[in-house]
């Protein structure tokens, strides 16, 4: 078997959590798009999660 690249499992687990959190926020928001309070909070939650991923500081995610 080939040697697995470092942090493969850790990055996978972290990103899976991120994806699930994003889907959770989207699922809260979409049925409530006419309720600004709920929809805005869902969008803000998505933004905060995505900002971290877009920043790409992988070493920080793993600590």
């Amino acid at each position: 078997m080939p040697q697995t690249a470092p942090n493969t499992e850790k990055i996978d687990e972290h990103l899976l959590e991120v994806v699930q959190a994003l889907h959770g926020a989207v699922k809260r928001g979409i049925p409530n798009v006419k309720d600004p309070k709920i929809a805005d909070k869902a969008i803000q939650d998505c933004k905060e999660i995505l900002d971290v991923i877009m920043e790409g500081k992988v070493s920080e995610w793993l600590n």
Binding site: N7, T8, L15, V19, L22, A42, I43, L50
Partner: protein, 238 residues
Amino acid sequence: MFTDKIELKDFDKMDPEYKDLLGRVLTIQADCEIGGPHLYVETMLPAAPTKLDQLIVARTAAEEIDHYRKVAHVAGDIGVDTSFVLSQPNEKRFVDTFRGLITTWEDNAVFGFLIDRVGRYQLEEFYDCSYLPLQRILPDIVTEELGHIEYGYNKTLELIEKGDEGKAKAQKAVDYWYVRALDMFGRSGSKRAERYLYWGLKRRANEQARQDYINEVNPILEKMGLKVPDPLKGRRYM
């Protein structure tokens, strides 16, 4: 032609060229998956026209991040670390299309309609490919890409239906992305593409995949009332 099917446990026994090509194609695929959100999240999440669109932008990004995760895991299992693409700037992306920033809603719509469609073509290259762990992750990824293409198509159509101004915006975006989409298939007659075919890692030559894309997209553009851009103007890879 290589016709065997390979599992992870067989990888060490494979020819160095096979290992190199598989690692390369997985790295590029991972880069393209994460490259999409880096083009539009910062600009389109706050600027999408409705709250529903904002949430769909977030959902699309979530799905692309998940595609990266799946491809990166297949790469990681053969010892190829693709994590550097999570932090590299857009201008260093492997594929030119991902080196800019999407700044308008019409570009975001047409990007989904035309560029995610190229993404679907690239993934379809791996259908029935020789590396089974890659083949197994495809169905869910392709299903989600189909959703992105449909959303992009619907949003482009919405723009066109708004009247002359919307149609002009959509045409301008199509003019910009169409040639980039064609370039994404790579050079015709590429020697490396021939080796991908030989090893059963891809199923079509670059020029064949590009022609199939043209045959699919041009009638859709015409039906939408848009002009098909000159397929040669502004191209970098012929």
